[in-house]
Symmetry: C2
Subunit: 138 residues, 2 copies
């Protein structure tokens, strides 16, 4: 996939087979993926390799890392292919019943005024509650 190679190259990340697989997997997921999930998807790639690729991606703004409601870290591709700004982010939802995370891609994170002297790098807006599917089951 030439497309993914360009994304990596544009961010100054060397292209390797593993890295392309990780980008591919993240792209295929609709909701942010955890390390464990990626481990299954990307078998037989090693967990630590995936982990290090993800760290590298986070450092180079290829992916965001967010914490879902269950104390686990999840990863998703930065949407903007050029630069990865704060404006890039959207709201996430965590269902306390089925324990799944999803994205509200259409809902941008409202900005707030931070006190003097604080530098903002990223923002996570996480709603916890019950998703429609689980709600209808009750």
């Amino acid at each position: 996939m030439k497309h993914f190679e360009q994304i990596l190259a544009a961010k100054g990340v060397r292209v390797t087979a593993n890295r392309l697989l990780v980008v591919q997997a993240l792209h295929d997921q609709k909701s942010p993926s955890s390390l464990s999930e990626l481990e299954q998807t990307l078998f037989p790639m090693d967990k630590s390799s995936i982990f290090r690729v993800l760290c590298h991606f986070v450092d180079n703004h290829v992916v965001h890392s967010i914490e879902d409601g269950a104390g686990m870290i999840r990863y998703e591709l930065c949407s903007g292919h050029d630069d990865c700004s704060v404006d890039d982010m959207h709201v996430h939802f965590y269902c306390e019943v089925c324990k799944h995370s999803e994205c509200f891609h259409d809902v941008p994170i409202p900005k707030v005024d931070v006190p003097e002297g604080y530098e903002v790098d990223s923002i996570t807006y996480m709603i916890k509650g019950i998703c429609p599917k689980c709600r209808n089951k009750r």
Copy 2:
């Protein structure tokens, strides 16, 4: 502290010595505490006891649980002593340099419109960046 006993009683939580100690400790902290921190503060109370007290408190809306930027769960007392609503919440800040969390008590979380059918229980608004103290050191 009669005061804390009333808080617990009002939420239908049975009052025990341990629970009062946990409430006290959370009240004394300015920023949200992690389980490990509480373990030190509350020594010799057992870690698992603290954990179970915290779970019970979260279930009964005595405390909020939030995830700081480092994948750790932190706890803070619900501010409203009557009921623990979504309006109760404020913005949190995580410094990526000194790895400390703090509260922007004066900055309420802006609300967003969620898609139809979703039930909102709580919201976490976490800003990651660099705090003034760490920023001045560079």
